[in-house]
């Protein structure tokens, strides 16, 4: 999706996406009164994507917790960098919030060294909001049925097993690289583009053997039996895939990985405001309705223990993926 959508439609039917007014004028507001006006949350991907999905489910509960309207602004483009740039330039007053994810915040800085925003400098972390595990799926005709069989199979055919991914620097690809390295395998990476769809299609068609993909993209095909599942990358088993072993059970605790989304605010945002937002996120992610809707989609709603913990988490993620990106050659040097 390379079209940035800052255009909201005001045709009398709705005013939902219409508020784009920057709120720099109230920068000096007393934090105790926060929030006294609508808060805009910038989602750096188009409507309908995973980030947009999570944010729209959180929106009502967060609005309620803050007692203020939340306006979602989708600013897609350049792998999320466009929206991140817009958010970074917002006033540090708590009225501009960035809904980042593992890609924009922890992968892009290594993948695109020339990008103008440095997320670790430009933002203050507030809290994670959702986590999505990935599953290793394969075409049913692919001989190995388990991770153990896969390892034996791939070891016997170095460089011959093909794995797909939704993109060179996608978290799905990097997760597979993590596994490949941990198991000492030589497998061949085949990148796709345009989301998980085209890559999954080629798994279904039997053109590529396997891939790691976020659970929501794989779920319908798992249920219809068009793909088989070998493992899930979460720490614990997933209730809707109770018989699928986790990577921890398989003996690879270090490759636990999720695709996550979380809230950040421009650097310089006062601490009391960060705390208020944090409390609202904790409340919203604990809301049973939010939890249930997310779980239906294979997504877990969670909040960090504290903004500091989220910051530490991001730093760890960034460092971890940087190593994988450089080793796998996902970025041109």
């Amino acid at each position: 999706m390379n079209r940035r959508q800052a255009v909201g439609l005001l045709l009398g039917t709705t005013a939902a996406a219409a508020i784009t007014a920057p709120s720099a004028a109230v920068a000096a507001e007393d934090p105790a009164k926060y929030p006294s006006q609508p808060i805009r949350v910038i989602v750096p991907f188009a409507p309908g994507g995973a980030s947009d999905f999570a944010m729209r489910l959180l929106q009502p509960a967060m609005s309620q917790a803050l007692g203020q309207q939340i306006v979602i602004e989708n600013r897609a483009g350049a792998a999320g960098n466009v929206g991140m740039d817009v958010a970074a330039r917002g006033a540090p007053d708590g009225y501009t919030v960035f809904f980042g994810n593992v890609g924009t915040v922890s992968i892009n800085p290594t993948l695109y060294p020339d990008m103008t925003v440095k997320p670790d400098k430009a933002f203050v972390a507030v809290s994670v909001a959702s986590e999505t595990p990935s599953v290793y799926i394969a075409n049913p005709k692919f001989p190995p049925n388990t991770v153990k069989e896969l390892i034996d199979y791939a070891k016997a055919r170095p460089g011959k097993v093909n794995f797909a991914s939704p993109g060179s620097g996608s978290v799905d690809r990097l997760e597979m690289e993590l596994f490949r390295k941990a198991a000492g395998l030589d497998m061949n990476h085949v990148p796709y583009k345009g989301g998980a769809g085209p890559a999954v299609a080629d798994i279904l068609g039997g053109h590529v053997e396997l891939m790691s993909v976020t659970l929501p993209s794989a779920m319908p095909h798992i249920k219809s039996g068009r793909v088989k599942v070998m493992a899930i990358t979460s720490r614990e088993r997933n209730p809707s895939l109770a018989d699928v072993p986790t990577v921890v059970e398989l003996g690879y605790p270090d490759i636990v990985a999720t695709s996550w989304q979380g809230f950040l605010v421009p650097a310089g945002t006062p601490r009391p405001i960060v705390d208020k937002l944090f409390q609202a996120i904790v409340k919203a992610t604990a809301d049973p309705k939010v939890k249930e809707r997310m779980l239906e989609g294979g997504v877990t709603a969670v909040a960090s223990d504290s903004p500091e913990q989220f910051k530490t988490f991001i730093d760890k993620e960034t460092a971890r993926w940087a190593v994988v990106i450089k080793e796998s050659g996902a970025v041109a040097d």
Partner: protein
């Protein structure tokens, strides 16, 4: 029988007054925004997507589908009237549609587009109703090597589009492909030909190039023509299709529908490839191919039918397998997800009223499009009687602001101006823009699938010849090349002989 009772259920859902209203609203909004250059179906749908989150799932998907084909249809209106293709699949419509408009037959061209689209829509609806699962399996058989060969075939067929020099047409295709390589490379994250400009990371938007060449470039060309030649409508005639015209439309529209329906289920360039190849086919089988590019009615009927059929069959992989064949379909998946629904094989069984309601609403939506647009044909055609000196500043201004609206980036307007210059120079050099745009759209798909096919085969090019689908397209490509090259060699020899005897 089963299908019929399901269709009955579908019509019951689609004819629900509320759903009818949302379907109509979708078609109306889609057409209105589609007429404006710049914002295509993807942009329109993503703007309106959040609005549909508050509706019932059936109503939401019916409205979104309405926006989708409304926008696709609106795009051809501007293509015919002012030579501005609103989106990639209406580029071909400019070739003859605009020429018809210049000859005073804008009404006929618009009516042809509406009727062909409706015909294609009706047939495509039946294909979806009766054959969706079978057809979807076929789409899965297409691997990267097959796509690559298909796209190469499409490009070679594009040469037929040109009515001038074949060498220049090939050059324009290559130029288009080269333009398409701009941006960050998918496989290596390396920025290619971005000249250090961050905005070029996603490449140049199709609409920027199309509006530069067609909107700005064409205006300069027109102005250079002198006052007499530039008035659009010299004599105003043929508002409605005569029985004779209708007869001329039916067969091309049917052929276009067939091609479009088949290509629509394939991801990537579906509707674009469909409209181009339908045009190329008509030109190839026509008794007098010279009429094409000069206002041939088949040149509007076939591609319009093809792109409408394709945009409808694009729903098949989405609904039956949960696989999006295009960015619009990916948005649809997101829309369903917001309603807690997951596109895929289970959806038809779990929510028959949604699937069949959508199928029925497609046909109703197409009917609405015709009902909505036929009365407007006269009004649109009248627009062209406005003196050119008042019309062209409007076109330029709409182009500027339309380009700006794509992603609120002023740089895009400057890039479009550069393509305006390119467009004018091209006209003077008798190079045609359609092959360039097709190269621009298909080039990246060829590269992507070529690289992917070779990655999968571990560097062995034999995949292109051992896979039956791929081999078929390569053989077809060879045949088209032979058809194109032989007359050139013959006439070249004739010329050499002629010069020798001189």
């Amino acid at each position: 029988m089963d299908v019929l009772s399901n269709l009955g259920l579908g019509f019951a859902v689609a004819l629900d007054p509320l759903n009818l209203l949302y379907g109509f609203l979708g078609v109306l909004l889609g057409t209105a925004i589609g007429v404006l250059p710049g914002l295509g179906p993807v942009a329109t749908i993503s703007i309106l997507l959040p609005v549909t989150f508050t509706l019932q799932p059936q109503s939401a998907i019916i409205m979104l589908a309405g926006i989708y084909y409304g926008a696709a249809y609106g795009g051809s209106t501007t293509a015919i009237l002012v030579n501005l293709p609103g989106e990639s699949s209406s580029v071909v419509t400019t070739l003859d549609g605009y020429q018809m408009a210049r000859q005073g037959k804008a009404g006929l061209a618009l009516a042809t587009a509406a009727l062909s689209s409706f015909m294609a829509g009706t047939i495509a609806t039946f294909i979806i109703a009766f054959a969706a699962p079978t057809v979807a399996e076929f789409a899965l058989d297409f691997g990267p090597a097959d796509y690559c060969s298909l796209m190469v075939f499409g490009l070679v067929a594009a040469v037929i589009l040109a009515h001038g020099s074949v060498i220049k047409a090939i050059g324009m295709i290559l130029t288009g492909i080269l333009l398409g390589t701009m941006g960050i490379d998918v496989n290596s994250s390396l920025p290619r030909f971005t000249f250090g400009v961050p905005q070029f990371g996603d490449g140049i938007d199709f609409a920027v190039i199309a509006m530069g060449i067609f909107g700005i470039g064409e205006t300069i060309t027109n102005l250079a023509r002198g006052a007499e030649a530039r008035e659009y409508v010299k004599n105003y005639r043929g508002l409605w299709p005569s029985p004779h015209d209708l007869k001329a439309i039916v067969r091309p529209a049917l052929r276009g529908t067939g091609l479009g329906a088949a290509l629509g289920i394939l991801p990537g360039g579906g509707p674009v490839l469909a409209s181009f190849s339908a045009y190329a086919l008509e030109k190839k089988i026509a008794a007098e191919p010279d009429r094409f590019g000069r206002g041939a009615i088949e040149g509007v009927a076939a591609p319009e039918a093809a792109n409408n059929a394709a945009s409808q069959t694009a729903f098949i992989p989405l609904l039956t397998l949960g696989l999006p064949a295009s960015p619009v379909m990916a948005l649809m998946i997101g829309a369903l997800m917001m309603h807690g629904l997951y596109a895929g094989p289970q959806l038809i069984a779990q929510k028959p009223e949604l699937f069949w309601g959508l199928v029925a609403s497609m046909w109703i939506g197409n009917l609405m499009l015709v009902v909505l647009n036929l009365p407007l044909v006269g009004m649109w055609a009248k627009l062209l009687t406005v003196p050119y000196r008042l019309l062209y500043p409007s076109i330029l201004l709409i182009c500027c602001i339309g380009v700006y609206s794509i992603r609120n980036d002023a740089l895009d307007v400057i890039v479009a101006s550069v393509f305006g210059l390119v467009g004018y120079v091209m006209t003077r050099l008798q190079c045609e823009p359609a092959p360039l745009l097709l190269g621009f759209i298909l080039g990246p798909l060829i590269e992507e699938n070529l690289r992917r096919a070779l990655l999968i085969s571990h560097g062995s090019p034999s995949v292109f010849f051992t896979r039956p689908i791929s081999l078929t397209f390569l053989i077809l490509t060879a045949i088209v090349v032979a058809i194109l090259v032989l007359p050139v060699i013959r006439s070249g020899r004739a010329r050499v002989f002629a010069e020798e005897t001189n």
